[in-house]
């Protein structure tokens, strides 16, 4: 046992012991512990194996920058890999496992990689695994992935819930340490809406680890006092366990709240994590500063950690990181730790200060070595001793822990995520936050300040300025006196000369000083190149601990200032965010909204098989007993419609109510065909073009009264056409008196088609439906028997006598049921979109299969719909371009296989007989195909070069994808009732 729990002290609840396991072994910790502090309290130094060399690694930090102590927490579908033990809140029943070791953490076969390290230097896999190329995917990559790894992903579905939420505030304070607390207090007292967030499970930040006395209270108690006041302010929201991971445009911040990551059995009534988007008028970054490790030989041995971490374990968790602790520092941090350890009765074997002189005072009992350095460490799985060098004299000092401090780097990530780069300060020997404007400022040690009192004042002052800026009357906040803090100022020491053995810069990715040197020699010297060549800063910790040292060392190698090297690019996320949190509730069938037709229940009762169509679920066919394939059902539905009648749900078509004196003129301009003279009570088929002359959408528009029209769109283009019309009305012709709104959801609309449609419908409709009273293309309000007002349109997509009946959505199912009952004797059937598709192909009607964004009206045989005599309509002016009128354009034709049972599939290409398949020989393609039970043959619609001149020609339907070649005859695209006799019966 090396590290251990002290008899007293810390912010842990000694009355509440928690049981947890690590690699199956049972341990006890205390409420208030992290997994890391609990492991240290149990003397467990070894927590992981490094990524590349599988070196034994211990805990280095006490926070979110931790590179080594990555563990898998939880079991089964709930297991979460790569969790930092240093921020994982301990709970009763927590089960953690180490990673990247086999067969066990203590004895790891992969450690043999250490012996191969000459071959595993920076860029090794670019050099080693180059040839043959085919080996990469099959051999090298799996091999590397097995050897070098992090935790394993689980493949089971995540059983937990996640949520997303928005929050709004005047001031967002990021970090609840001294600066953040005072900022929240100043702005909160002024009445501003404040949100204070901190990634820790207990608010207070560094005050929780500090031995200083603030306002006569222990630092942690002072934090508690401020938090108690903040909790009484209704305008202040406190959010613990919440990490702000990103700063986005317009002062929107992304944050993730761990709601139930600290419980063994999450309740399903709460999410485990909640993703926040916080809209802040102003924000203060009070994220503190990160202590830099020192770079010397063997600086990765378990037992070596930052001085600040050792201090946190001591003061916050009551854990001594060793029985004999050595300290290696280049500034005041080491002295602060030496004092705290001594005060707690922990032996400090030596305090080695890299500086020859400093004003810092070591405790009397501690041996101080000025101008010294640690050049290497000893011990197999744990630290046994260090080699200290002083002016060339080496001395071995026995110790079981080494605390190091290489100075401080303000945590400025968030302020650098929108393009601004941190600014190097020679004075502070650190990168400081860039100026990103007055709305978002850094405060406290995040702003480069070092003394506790200065941080307290800075937070209060900056919040006061921001609150006043927003119009709040903010008064000066009294700053408490501070006693017993230390001066964390330091002198730069990027690398310890004379180091022996590997000196790590990036612990997680096993990047050493030698790797950095190699990258400079091999010309990967730009900092972004160095990063990618060495992988320094590319691990899950994104170089929080190592990057500044990397820059300092590279600067030293090149003899320039770190300012000249600069930093790599900062991007969200500050710490890893789970996919679950980002998805929120949008998982599986909740990935996007579902739209249900008002006839959904009717279709379901009639046995519909549903198909997703955009957001809709549409009934695609209605199988009956004994029908073994979908084709059998569809064939029957088509035959029934042609012979008797069928009912199809067409509610999903877009419907737009259009009003105004300018409505007719508006329609005349958005459709290619004429609309000015459409009589009241009539429907007309309309074709819309894009401004480039290509067909956009089609549908019918009916004039219900003098200045009231209802326009229909295809299902797929309903939302687009609505926006298109709005653009035309608002941005193109704002002077036209036309107003419209979607009524798509108001109506349940059903198509009743077939020779018996009228007889059946007349049993339900009061109005006379005879051909004389209600001829083809009639459109008007009718009364159903029983007194329900409805809209009836005599239009046909199938080519049969057909009506579309629209009733208020809530009555849809009842009316559809009534029509089915009315048509029982005639054998009416429900038919779905598959049969609808067959019916329209037989009739040669187009859908977006043909109107695919490349076709003109003439291409699809609708050239007559181009009313070129109109002065203007959308698409008119570019429709006559050379390319759109060329003689060899693809034109819509019909195809019939020479052998009726030969199947043609959509997507197949067309070739002249005996022509080799090639781009040059391509004659066109099949746009729609089906089996026609009416013709007892497969049929198709196709786009064919100069197609209308080629009726009668035999053509090869070539489908390499599905391996078929069918000989077909080119024919007119209307297979059924070409003279439209059925429409007018």
């Amino acid at each position: 046992m090396v590290s251990y729990r002290l008899a007293a002290g810390g912010l842990v609840n000694r009355g509440n012991a928690l049981s947890f396991t690590f690699d199956g072994k049972i341990y006890r910790g205390l409420q208030g512990d992290t997994l890391a502090s609990a492991l240290l309290a149990n003397g467990e130094l070894l927590v992981g194996r490094s990524f590349k060399y599988h070196r034994p690694r211990g805990i280095v930090t006490a926070g979110s920058a931790e590179p080594n102590a990555l563990v898998t927490i939880g079991a089964g579908a709930r297991s979460e890999p790569n969790t930092r033990a240093t921020v994982a809140e301990l709970y009763d029943g927590l089960a953690a496992a180490s990673q990247n070791r086999w067969p066990s953490l203590a004895f790891d076969i992969g450690a043999v990689n250490s012996l191969l390290s000459p071959f595993l230097s920076a860029g090794f896999y670019y050099k080693t695994f180059m040839w043959p190329a085919a080996f990469w995917e099959k051999v090298y990559e799996p091999l590397i992935r097995r050897a070098a790894g992090l935790g394993r992903l689980v493949t089971e579905a995540d059983p937990d819930r996640y949520e997303k939420a928005w929050a709004h505030c005047d001031l967002l304070v990021i970090g609840s340490g001294p600066a953040g607390l005072m900022a929240a207090l100043a702005a909160g007292r002024a009445g501003a809406r404040v949100i204070l967030v901190d990634e820790g499970f207990r608010l207070g930040g560094s005050l929780l680890s500090d031995s200083a006395v603030v306002g006569g209270l222990k630092a942690a108690d002072f934090a508690g006092q401020v938090l108690a006041e903040l909790a009484t302010l209704s305008n202040v929201t406190l959010m613990a366990r919440t990490t702000v991971f990103g700063w986005y445009d317009d002062m929107v911040f992304g944050a993730v709240e761990k709601v139930q990551k600290h419980v063994a059995h999450p309740t399903p009534d709460l999410p485990v994590e909640r993703l926040w988007r916080i809209v802040a008028k102003r924000a203060i970054l009070a994220a503190g500063a990160e202590e830099r490790p020192l770079v010397f030989g063997g600086n990765d041995r378990p037992g070596v950690m930052t001085a600040g971490a050792a201090r946190t374990y001591l003061n916050r968790y009551g854990v001594a990181v060793g029985q004999r602790v050595a300290i290696f520092t280049n500034g005041g941090s080491g002295y602060g730790l030496a004092r705290d350890l001594t005060d707690s009765g922990v032996e400090v074997t030596a305090l080695i200060d890299a500086r020859r002189e400093s004003a810092d005072i070591a405790p009397e009992s501690v041996r101080l070595i000025r101008g010294g350095a640690v050049t290497s460490t000893r011990g197999t799985r744990a630290l046994k001793s260090i080699i200290a060098d002083r002016s060339g004299f080496e001395e071995e000092i026995a110790c079981d822990a080494l605390a190091m401090s290489g100075g401080w780097s303000p945590v400025v990530h968030l302020m650098c995520q929108r393009g601004a780069r941190p600014v190097w300060s020679e004075e502070r020997q650190a990168f400081l936050a860039p100026d990103v404007g007055a709305a978002f400022v850094a405060a406290g040690s995040a702003a480069g300040l070092d003394r506790l009192s200065a941080c307290l004042r800075d937070g209060a002052d900056k919040a006061t300025v921001l609150a006043r800026d927003l119009g709040f009357a903010a008064y000066e906040t009294e700053i408490p006196d501070v006693a017993g803090d230390y001066d964390p100022a330091f002198a730069p020491l990027w690398y310890v000369p004379g180091s022996k053995g590997k000196a790590f810069v990036d612990f997680q990715n096993d990047v050493t000083v030698a790797d950095l040197g190699l990258s400079q020699r091999e010309a990967y010297s730009h900092v972004e190149m160095t990063k990618r060549y060495t992988t320094g800063g590319m691990a899950t910790d994104q170089g929080k601990l190592g990057n500044v040292n990397t820059i300092g060392i590279v600067a030293g190698m090149r003899g320039v200032s770190p300012a000249e090297i600069g930093t790599t690019t900062f991007r969200p996320f500050y710490t890893p965010v789970s996919f679950g949190a980002m998805a929120g509730t949008a998982r599986g069938e909740h990935s996007r909204p579902v739209r249900r037709s008002p006839l959904h229940g009717w279709a379901a009762r009639n046995g519909a098989v549903f198909v997703e169509a955009g957001l809709w679920y549409r009934s695609s066919w209605f199988p009956r007993e004994g029908e073994k394939t979908w084709r059998e059902a569809v064939d029957r539905e088509v035959r029934t419609v042609r012979a008797s009648a069928g009912l199809c749900d067409v509610s999903t078509l877009g419907k737009i109510e259009i009003f105004g004196l300018g409505a007719a003129e508006f329609l005349n301009r958005v459709y290619s065909n004429a609309f000015l003279k459409l009589p009241v009570g009539k429907a007309r088929y309309g074709l819309m073009l894009r401004e480039d002359g290509i067909v956009y959408d089609d549908g019918t528009t009916s004039r219900l009264s003098e200045n009231h029209y209802v326009l229909t769109t295809t299902t797929a283009y309903a939302t687009d056409v609505m926006a298109h019309l709005e653009f035309a009305a608002q941005a193109l012709w704002p002077h036209l008196d036309v107003r419209f709104a979607s009524s798509s959801d108001q109506w349940a609309q059903m198509s009743i088609a077939g020779p018996k449609a009228r007889i059946i419908l007349q049993r339900v409709v009061e109005d006379d439906l005879s051909d004389a009273a209600f001829p083809f293309l009639s459109a008007r309000e009718v009364m159903l028997k029983g007194g329900l007002a409805a809209r009836l349109f005599r239009i046909s997509f199938s080519g049969e006598l057909a009506y579309e009946l629209a009733v208020p959505a809530g009555y849809g199912e009842a009316v559809a049921d009534a029509i089915m009952e009315a048509g029982y004797e005639e054998g009416i059937c429900a038919y779905g979109v598959e049969a609808l598709n067959v019916l329209r192909i037989e009739k040669g009607h187009v859908t977006h299969n043909e109107l695919d964004g490349r076709t003109t009206a003439d291409d699809v045989g609708l050239g007559r719909m181009m009313a070129m005599q109109k002065p203007d309509f959308i698409g008119k002016h570019l429709s006559t371009r050379f390319g759109l009128t060329a003689a060899d354009r693809l034109q819509m034709v019909g195809l019939k296989p020479v052998e009726a049972d030969a199947e043609i599939k959509a997507g197949a290409h067309l070739l002249k007989e005996n022509a080799k398949p090639s781009m040059v020989n391509d004659q066109g393609f099949v746009s729609s195909a089906c089996y026609s039970p009416t013709l007892n043959s497969f049929i198709a619609l196709a786009m064919l070069k100069s197609g209308r001149e080629r009726y009668g020609e035999k053509i090869v339907v070539w489908d390499a994808l599905r391996g078929s070649e069918v000989l077909a005859e080119v024919c007119p695209p209307v297979f059924v009732d070409p003279d439209n006799k059925n429409l007018h019966v």
Binding site: R161, E163, K164, A165, W166, A167, H168, R193, P268, D269, L270, R277, V279, T585, A586, H590, R592, P593, V594, R595, R596, S597, P598, G601, W616, E657, F659, G660, N707, H708, D737, R739, F740, A741, S743, S744, D745, Q746, W747, R763, V764, L784, K785, G786, L788, V807, P808, A809, G810, Y811, G812, E813, A814, V815, A818, A822
Partner: protein, 183 residues
């Protein structure tokens, strides 16, 4: 042949079983409110808005400039349509079947809604009587504040099931119950 057609609310598939006693957080779905879409022609906007607001038993919801929903629990659609069409410069149509109205109430209602929408509904910024069209649980709907802790959501019928389930899910934290409003 005389027919009578039963009217069916789209959420009947979602609200099943016996009516539960409402909890403090409750989602009440109106069975058959009258909802009209009202459009003003250019130049009449202010007059139309004022005339709509003067109608008795009618609550006016803002959809956008010159577009409103007129909501009533006491006036039927035909009667309201007659009243509204009498206003100069108006076009209107019955949207009662195309829109679903639900009221959500409870002390933490804003917390539930903050999980469904991005708009700041703090009392100073979205006071009682305010209404606007916005994205609610990924659906384009209309939100109105009807009380300190009461809001009404109006969404297109085809999306109502999705929205209802999503709001209920977001209300689990506060034991949100849901039922049709008593007639």
């Amino acid at each position: 042949m005389t027919l009578s057609f039963a009217h069916r609310h789209v959420l009947e598939d979602h609200i099943v079983g016996f009516e539960t006693k409402p909890n403090p957080h409750h989602l009440a779905v109106a069975r058959r409110p009258t909802i009209l879409s009202v459009l003003s022609h250019a130049g009449f906007e202010a007059g139309v808005k004022a005339a709509l607001q003067a109608l008795e038993g009618v609550s006016v919801r803002i959809c956008g400039p010159a577009e409103w929903l007129a909501v009533s629990h006491s006036v039927g659609p035909e009667a309201l349509l007659r009243l509204v069409r009498a206003i100069e410069g108006v076009s209107a149509f019955d949207h009662s079947d195309g829109r679903v109205l639900m009221q959500i109430t409870g002390p933490n209602v804003r917390k539930i809604l903050s999980k469904c929408l991005a708009v700041d509904i703090d009392r100073d910024r979205f006071p009682i009587g305010a209404s606007a069209s916005m994205q609610i649980a990924h659906v384009a709907g209309n939100l109105a504040r009807t009380g300190e802790d009461a809001f009404e959501i109006i969404v297109p019928r085809s999306y109502a099931g999705t929205l209802f389930e999503e709001v209920k899910e977001m209300g689990r934290e506060f034991a949100l119950t849901a039922a049709f409003s008593p007639e």
